[in-house]
Each structure stands twice: as C-alpha cells, then as structure tokens.
C-alpha cells in the first residue's frame, strides 16, 4: 500500500495551481485534505505524476457573508471548521447537522469542503446538502472563472462538472430564512461510516405544513438524487393532512429512487431505509418548525 512515485508542488496561488495543472495535463491532481486522495493513491487506484497542494492558500478557508446575504464557504474549509463556525450554525444549520456524520474527528480536522464535493462520493453527506440547498459551485480554470449550480455539478460516481485543470474555490448558498427549516438524517452501520442511505432536506413551512421542500437522498445512486415526486407529494395543497402527505411521499419515493444492490446492502433494503428516513426527517422538520 505505497503510492507509485509522484512529484509534489505547493501552490502559491489559485492561478499557480491552475497553471501547474495545465502544464501537466492528465498527470496532475489537486490535493487538499488528502483524506480521500491519499487512500486512492496508496491503493494505486490513482497514480498522478504530480500533486498540486493547495493547502497553504489560507484565503480559500474563509467563511464570509456576502453583500447579497449569501454565505460563501471557501473550498479549503475543513469539516471541523464547518462544525465550529457560528456563521454556519446560524445561517445554514443543515451543514452543521450533516457535518457530524462525516467520518471521525481526525478526518474532519483535515478533510475539506471542496475536497468532499470534488471527490463526489455518492455516499457523502456534503454533496447532498449543497444540492438540497441549491448552492452554487465556484470554479477557477484555465479559461477563467465560472459558476455551476450544485444541482448540475455531480455527474457520476467520483465525477463532477469540474474540467481538467479546474479548481473548486468556493460554494455559495442562501442563508436560511425565518420560514425555512432543514432536516438531515442517515443510516450508517457505525458512527462516522459512510451512509447506507442518507437524506438532506430543506424546505419552507407555513401553518405546520411544508409549502416547499427539496429532498436530496444520497448513497442511493451514482450521485445525490433529488426526490422530486416525493417532494411534490409533501407539499401537495390538495392533501391537507400531513400524515397523508407523508404516506403519499413514501409511496412516490420508489418512482424517484432506484438504488443499487451491493455486497453491504440490497436495493430493497436501501429503498426501505429511504422511506423510513423520509418519515423521520420530515417528522423532525415539522416538529421543530421554521428557522432551524
């Protein structure tokens, strides 16, 4: 379990990193927290010739409130930073809820927000959160800057909209509003494990009923999946009874999701857990009410 030989450069700026990637085409990779990349390299599943370390670009670690009341989270924000930040807790409680399900303390101390999104593990928590929150992904590349909606960012298992030579620099999202509520839940065999099934949800509430909701399920497909039919059932004005809405949503879920079989869990099991999770997360959101 030793990586194949590789070179290493510490990037001095984002543009330096972009240049190094461009100069080394296929053979170069960004390294951020290294928590996923080093494992892949040790397994020799990934053998980049050059590692471009963006770890010292401190400004990529900032969490700031922008003029237009959005929260901008730098790509190098550590999972532990998300957990500790009062801004995150106040303005995007979903991330705060989710982050404690990501791995263990030691990994959260090094793993980064940008790394997690770029790595795009289908069982990861943060990709589902940014989809539920309809965040935007900010990218710098050889052709300049661009912004991709999170809902278009994840394209497959470990595959994203990031092009060759591009660096994810930040995520932006709306701060939570007074009538909004978010919910999070997952089933993992052990504390800190990747989820068997997870759900990140964000919605609006009025008079004890959801009026809008986004449900991003993860570990049920090659990317996080927005369960649109279930979401529609949950906010269906024609169904006033929340229990009935939930029942319909649970039924609709099998149209939204088509989870895979794998050695750890059958598709039927994942589907059942997704239904259970839907009930619990929505129940929790309704119980807590808006603003959290």
């Amino acid at each position: 379990m030793k990586p194949a030989p590789f070179d290493y450069v510490r990037a001095e700026s984002v543009h330096h990193a972009v240049r190094l990637l461009a100069e080394n085409k296929d053979g170069a990779r960004i390294i951020a927290g290294g928590q996923s990349l080093m494992t892949a390299m040790n397994f020799r599943m990934s053998s980049p010739a050059l590692l471009v370390d963006i770890g010292e670009l401190e400004h990529l670690r900032d969490i700031t409130l922008t003029a237009d009341a959005r929260l901008r989270i730098g790509a190098l924000t550590r999972h532990a930073d998300l957990d500790a930040s009062p801004d995150i807790a106040a303005h995007t409680p979903l991330l705060r809820k989710a982050i404690r399900h990501v791995a263990h303390t030691a990994i959260r101390n090094r793993g980064t927000f940008g790394g997690s999104l770029s790595h795009a593990d289908p069982a990861s928590e943060l990709p589902a959160c940014v989809m539920a929150l309809d965040a935007t992904i900010h990218i710098v590349g050889p052709d300049g800057d661009r912004v991709v909606p999170a809902r278009h960012f994840f394209t497959g298992v470990h595959e994203t909209a990031l092009g060759a030579g591009e660096v994810l620099v930040a995520v932006e999202l709306d701060v939570i509003k007074a009538d909004e509520v978010s919910g999070f839940g997952e089933f993992a065999r052990r504390q800190g494990d990747y989820a068997m099934v997870g759900l990140a949800a964000h919605g609006r509430i009025a008079a004890g009923l959801l009026t809008a909701v986004d449900l991003a399920f993860f570990a049920v497909g090659s990317t996080p999946i927005l369960a649109r039919r279930a979401a529609a059932a949950l906010v269906d004005p024609a169904t006033p009874d929340p229990a009935q809405r939930l029942q319909r949503a649970r039924e609709a879920l099998s149209l939204d999701l088509d989870p895979p079989d794998d050695p750890q869990s059958s598709a039927a099991m994942r589907m059942e857990l997704a239904r259970v999770l839907l009930g619990r997360v929505v129940g929790d959101m309704l119980a807590r009410g808006a603003g959290a």
Partner: protein, 799 residues
C-alpha cells in the same frame, strides 16, 4: 470485586505484601501509551535491510501457466524476485495435519504457490527491494498467466460429488469428519415432550489486529545464524519451524517477539509470506523485512468461524433438556493451517455443545471442508461462540416453548454444584463450575425484574427492547496432551528463570509472551509476591528465545494459569534459596526468617534483619565472607505443565440488553453484563479488561463482522472501510463481576480468562434481539444480525 462461595484455599501468596488480587497497573502501560512500544516494525533495521512485497493471486482457483519476472528483476532497487519453486529449494513445504485428529487431511502447502493457486490473496511471487515502495513498483512489472479453474466456495456444495476438487490428490474436499455420540439421542427425541430446532449460520471473521503481521529476518551466512524479529505469540514454535523448514540447527535460530500489538490466535499460524521473507533472507544473506498491510491482511491472515449448524434440542414436559443432535459444517478455506491444523475449531465447537447443561444424550456430527477461500483456523474462543450460540438459542426457544422464563429454565437445567468432578457427554472433565452462583449474581447485577418491567413499559410506547442470556464454559490451561500428542513440536509446558540481581532486583525470564494483554504485569505480580519484593523491583523478560526458557507461550488462555504457576513455583524456590543464604549469614534457621518488601525479616516480629540488596551485594561481590563450602544460589529455574486434568474449564453467564428499531433493523446495545469464574483473579483490572475486550469481539460477531465472498471466491469487503469491526461508539457499557472457584490442580488456582468474553457475548446479543423480536413472530439464526437480516426476519423486505 470477588465473592466466594467456598472460601478460597489458603495460599502461600496470601502474605502481607502479596500483589495477588490487586489491580496493580501494568509496568508497560506508560511506555505503550507514550508511543514507546517496540513492535517489529520499530526494530532498528540491520544495515542493508530489504523490504519484501508479494504478488498475490487475483483468482480463487487457477493454474499458473506462466510467470515472467524479468522486468521486475531489472527494476530499480530490486535485489531478489522469487517464485514458489525457488523458495522450495531452500525451504521445505508443509502439510497442516496432526495425528490425533484421525482422518484429518490437507495438501502440501508451499510458502509461495507452485503451479496452482487456491485462494484469492495467496502469495505467488516475492520481491525484496530497497524500499517497500520499490518492491511494490516491481510487483506491477511481473506478469503471471493464469488458467482459471472453477472455484469451490459454498461449504455444502464442496461436498457434492460433482464439485470441483481443490486438491485433486485428496479425492474430495472433505478435510475432516468427526462423530461424537453419548447416550441415545434418537431415543430421547422420540420420547421428548417438545423439540426445538434451528439452522444456524456464523459468518467468517478476520481477526484485525492493530499491529499487522510483521517479520524482520536477518540471516548471517558466516555462522549460518538466523535472527528473526516477529510479531508472534509463539517464539519457540517459530524457532522450531524455521530450523526444520530451512534446514538450520535449532540453536542457530533466534526468534524475538518484543511488543506484539494484538494477536487473538491469528499470530501462531505459519504464513507463506512470512516464511518466504525469512527464506529470502537466507538466500540473500541479508536482512529482509515484511510488514503486512491491511489490504493483504484481509485475504491472508487466517479467518475464523464460518459454520453452518443444524441442531435440535429435546425437552421433557417438566422442562428438562434431555438431548441434543447437532450437525456442524465448517469451511476452512484452502488448507488446514500449519502447524496446529484447522480441525480444532470444529472439534471444540462440536464438543462444547450443550456443555453447561445436564443433558446426557448427545449426538454431534462435524464435517470440515476445503474451500477456495483464505485459510480458517484458531482465533479467540476457538469453537466456543458456535457451541454457545447454538445451545443458548435453542435453550431460549425451549424455554419459550415450555412457557418458562429463560433464566428460570436455565436454572433448572444447568449442572448443579453436587455433580463435580463431572465428565460431560462429549468427554470434557469439569473440576468444579459455578453456574448457579453466576446466574444468581448476574440476576442481581442487572436487576433482571426491573429490566423485564422496563421492557413491558417500553413496548406500550412502541419501543422494542430485548434481554438475552448466554451461559458459557471456556476451555483454558490446556494440559500436556494438546498439540504435542498429535506430533506437533509445540510444547504445553512453560519455563521460568528467576534471579536475584546484584542490585537486589529480581529478573524474571519466562516463556509466556506479551500481546498487549498484560502478561508481563501478571508475571511481575506473581514473582514479587512469591519472592517477597516490591513489584517495581521485578523486571520481566519475555518473547526472546535467547533470553527466556523454552515454553509454550500465549494461546488457549494459558498464560496466567500455566505461566503464572511456573513463576510461582520458581519464585518460591528462589525465596527458599535466599532465606537459606540469609540464615547462614544471620546464623538463624531459615524457617525463622521471611522476605517482605525486599527485606529479610524476622518471622515472628517482622523486624528487618538485612535487605535483599545487601544480601545480593555480599553474595555477588564478597562471597569470600561466606562460610567455607557455602555457594550462594541466586537463580532458580523451573518448568511446569498442568497435570491431573486435560483443561481447567471456566464458566460464566452473560446478558445483553438491546433496543431494536423495527423500522430500520438497527440494533442499539443498551447494556451488557458478564459474571464469570476464572478461579483466582490475579489482577482484577486486567481480568475485567480481558472480559470487556472479548465481549467487544463477540459483539463484532453478533452484529458487524463478516468476510463477504463472491461466488467466484473474491473477498468483497477486504478493507477497514468495508469490513465492520466493532467500534467504541456502538459499544454498550460492559459490567463485569466474578465468582471465584480456584482450580485445586495448582497452587495459584488461576484459570484462563482470555476467551470468556468472546465465547458468550454473541449468543447473548442474538438472544436479546430475538427476545425483542418475539412479539413480531420473527427470529434470526444468522450472525451477524445485520439490519437487513433483521428486516427480512420481520418480513419487511421482499425478495
């Protein structure tokens, strides 16, 4: 906490300064916690050391048609590339059979596969290079052509006439079969009031030691001397293996096992990659090191368990268990392990069935089969969790069928205090067990009535809880006829050399070894107590064939009971030597003197007469002042093997309290209790931690651990991300208490404790889950009880 039914017999160690029964801290704890442990990988490597890596078979079953190592040989930093045939030229292959398992068969196993690979992960080519990374780079340049053969993975299918043969020379895939009959089980079933039965499955486990298998071999051709640092439980066994298989005089082989980071039985088997590493050192005349990484540990460390058991229990109208009939099929992978064989697990499982209970009619049938999977062999609590899991599940079913509380049902059937010494239907001899005291104590400890009340109350709120019990017996302190009797050069005795050093300190060299369980602390306690010195003044030396006497070391829960008794006997002998010398110096009869806290004292008054330090000074540096003809004997040496009984059986009971989420199938462990009887408790802290560690492994079996193989024999979850070891967050509090029934076959009275936790924990947890599921009409008889299996049992998943 100790509680005594009968008073513990008086002991020479019940002295004012005795450390027996005290939770003294481990002398090595500070060192280990500060990261100053000295594991094999920490050994300062000899100059020119090379690092080994192995190319392993990607197939479960295949012929090797061609191997091309030319590019690897030319790769940077590579000193040697070897195939199985080349290793065979310096190292004799082996066959994992012993004569006392009649009919046990296995095939010739080469250190590296020759022509034929029989499991995915079997080492095929070895590379020694300047760094491990270079060795791995070279591996990627080796080309091996395989012709795939149909794999045998399912144990039932392995015995079908049309099954492919793993070792054609054996004529079938059957490794071993055994039938154990006592009384008339069939008749008892005909007469039974109630019969309960089940088909049980126990998953395959990987031991997952913190420190992976590690070996550093250094062959010096000028003297034909071989030094091997190895993470092993059994330095002397390995010395013998290396000497015989590499054709070296035993005296030329030096095996050192300093700190060992866990072993659980996994580190006493012979592994091809380790032997090949040593052979490479012999070929090169250079040091070669091999540290297994996790990716190769999973498919190459021995696996454990893997049983399918069909069992029935017959019960009379009054609730008396009368008989059991058991059929156990176990898959041991591609070979029977060397040198201890893979028959022991099944042999113990089939003989331990029903062991705590009074039933006299028993019929057990064991079949052990080969499969194209990693070798399965002895691992903590060999066979016990299978026997306990099956028996205790049937006991719960029988109690429910008869309409009795499970604890009450056990009380009616457990062996009573008046039967000892007792020979079980399967031939095990129990000197004295304490089942009923353990049950009583457990019932109080867990406040059983309150838990049942809580269960009923919780159920009204839709919270589903369950309580499960498991009574267990444990084989410990194996006697003289264990492996040696079958022709293995594995000793059942231990040796100890105790010396009063010039400083006045005691040096204790003993053949038992430290795996992280605290053996050295126990030995220091016993030596200090037996001689009469402070524990700080005892230095214990283990794990070095050049520094300790020949002995069996660590396996089968024998360290404290056998090694400890050896130290006790030796300590008393040294004390007698020192008192004799002191008597001469002080011109007093030695009987009037004693040693206490490192001082020679007047027996009657306790008054200090002379320090041991002073005695040592005179003996070593001023022997001229001793009377003519007096020789100071400052060293005592003894060997000891338990005689009188084949094993010192221990017993106990465990209970588990769980909450089952019947929507998701997830289980939360609320609490776990153990009351056990390991005889005399030498160090309560260490005993409790042995129990807790063992329970955690049992919980792993019950809920988490399972090596998943594809039908093609590919290990599907061979990483720490995929193979679920039990972790702290999911563990319940584990409450431990003791009953103490010392064995009278030794002065110390200590029995083993290392495997008790593992023996019973899984059964208790599964019974608790089934207790919780009982109102839903669901029952599980497969471990691990994964959420998916629980939902399936509840009928919540289609297909």
């Amino acid at each position: 906490m100790m509680s005594d039914r009968a008073p513990v017999p008086p002991l020479a160690l019940d002295r004012p300064n005795s450390y027996i029964g005290r939770s003294v801290p481990r002398p090595n704890a500070r060192r280990l916690v500060q990261g100053r442990g000295h594991y094999t990988d920490d050994v300062a490597a000899p100059a020119g050391v090379l690092h080994a890596a192995f190319l392993r078979s990607p197939y479960a079953h295949a012929r090797i048609t061609h191997i091309d190592v030319a590019a690897a040989k030319a790769a940077p930093g590579v000193a040697l590339v070897v195939t199985g045939a080349e290793i065979d030229q310096v190292c004799e292959p082996w066959v994992g059979v012993l004569s006392h398992f009649k009919g046990l068969r296995s095939a010739t196993q080469h250190a590296l596969a020759v022509d034929h690979v029989v499991w995915q992960g079997e080492p095929v080519v070895g590379v020694a290079a300047l760094t491990r990374a270079m060795a791995e780079d070279a591996l990627s340049l080796i080309e091996i052509a395989y012709a795939e053969l149909p794999p045998v993975t399912d144990p039932d299918a392995a015995l079908l006439p049309e099954s492919p043969l793993i070792h054609p020379e054996l004529g079938s895939n059957l490794a071993f079969a055994l039938t154990v009959e006592s009384g008339d089980a069939e008749a008892a079933f005909r007469d039974a009031h109630t019969v309960v039965s089940g088909d049980f499955r126990f998953g395959r486990h990987s031991p997952v030691t913190l420190e992976a298998r590690s070996v550093l071999a250094d062959f010096n051709p000028s003297e034909r001397r071989l030094t091997v640092h190895q993470s092993t439980q059994t330095p002397y066994q390995m010395q013998d293996i290396y000497a015989r298989h590499l054709g070296l005089p035993q005296a030329n082989v030096h095996v050192i096992a300093k700190d060992v980071g866990g072993s659980f039985g996994m580190k006493l088997h012979v592994y091809g990659d380790e032997v090949a590493t040593v052979a490479m050192s012999v070929i090169l005349g250079r040091a070669v090191k091999f540290i297994a990484d996790r990716l190769e540990s999973f498919p190459s460390d021995i696996h454990a368990r893997d049983h399918r058991v069909r069992a029935r229990m017959a019960v009379a109208a009054d609730g008396e268990i009368t008989a059991m009939i058991v059929d156990d099929l176990t898959g041991v992978g591609a070979f029977s392990a060397y040198p201890r064989t893979s028959a022991v697990e099944g042999n113990q499982a089939i003989r331990l069935m029903g062991g705590p209970y009074k039933l006299r009619h028993y019929s057990g049938n064991l079949r052990v089969v080969f499969q194209n999977k990693a070798v399965m062999s002895q691992y903590r609590a060999v066979g016990h969790p299978i026997a306990c899991g099956v028996t205790e599940a049937l006991v719960d079913q029988a109690a429910a069928a008869i309409g009795l509380d499970p604890l009450e049902f056990r009380r009616r059937n457990l062996l009573t205090d008046d039967v000892y010494p007792y020979t079980s239907p399967t031939g095990y001899l129990f000197e004295r067990l304490s089942h009923h005291q353990c049950v009583d104590k457990l019932e109080r400890l867990m406040d059983y009535p309150a838990l049942r009340a809580d269960q009923a109350e919780a159920r009204t709120k839709g919270v589903v809880r369950g309580i499960g019990f498991a009574v267990f017996i444990e084989i410990t302190n194996p006697g003289p006829a264990f492996y040696g009797v079958g022709g293995a050069r594995i000793t059942a005795q231990d040796g100890c050399v105790l010396t009063l050093e010039p400083s006045g300190n005691i040096r204790c060299a003993v053949s038992v070894t430290e795996q992280g369980q605290g053996t050295e602390a126990i030995m220091a306690q016993i030596a200090a107590s037996a001689v009469g010195v402070r524990i700080e003044d005892v230095r214990v030396i283990t794990g070095d064939t050049a520094a300790t006497p020949y002995g069996g070391a660590t396996w089968a829960s024998r360290g404290a009971g056998i090694g400890g008794e050896t130290v006790l006997i030796t300590g008393k002998a040294l004390r007698a030597n020192l008192l004799r010398l002191a008597g001469i110096l002080l011109q007093m009869p030695p009987d009037n003197l004693d040693i206490s806290d490192g001082l020679i004292v007047d027996n009657a008054t306790g008054r200090e007469r002379i320090t041991l330090q002073e005695l040592a000074r005179i003996a070593y540096y001023r022997p001229d002042t001793l009377p003519q003809g007096v020789q100071a004997e400052l060293t005592a040496a003894h060997h000891h093997v338990p005689r009188g009984q084949p094993f010192a059986f221990t017993n106990g009971i465990q209970a588990s309290h769980v909450e089952v989420d019947v929507e998701s199938g997830f289980v939360r462990l609320l609490n776990h209790w153990v009351v056990e009887d390991c005889g005399r408790v030498i160090n309560p802290l260490l005993v409790d931690e042995q129990i807790r560690g063992g329970v955690v492994q049992g919980i792993g079996a019950a809920l988490f651990e399972e090596c998943l193989y594809s039908e093609q024999g590919q290990l599907l979850n061979g990483t720490l991300a995929d193979y679920l070891v039990p972790m702290a967050s999911e563990m319940p509090d584990i409450h431990v208490d003791h009953v103490s029934t010392p064995t009278l076959h030794s002065e110390l009275g200590a029995k083993g404790v290392g495997e008790a936790g593992t023996a019973g924990a899984a059964a208790a947890v599964l019974n608790a889950i089934n207790d919780a599921l009982q109102p839903f009409g669901a029952r599980l008889s497969q471990m691990p009880a994964t959420p998916e299996r629980i939902l399936r049992a509840l009928g919540k998943l289609a297909g």
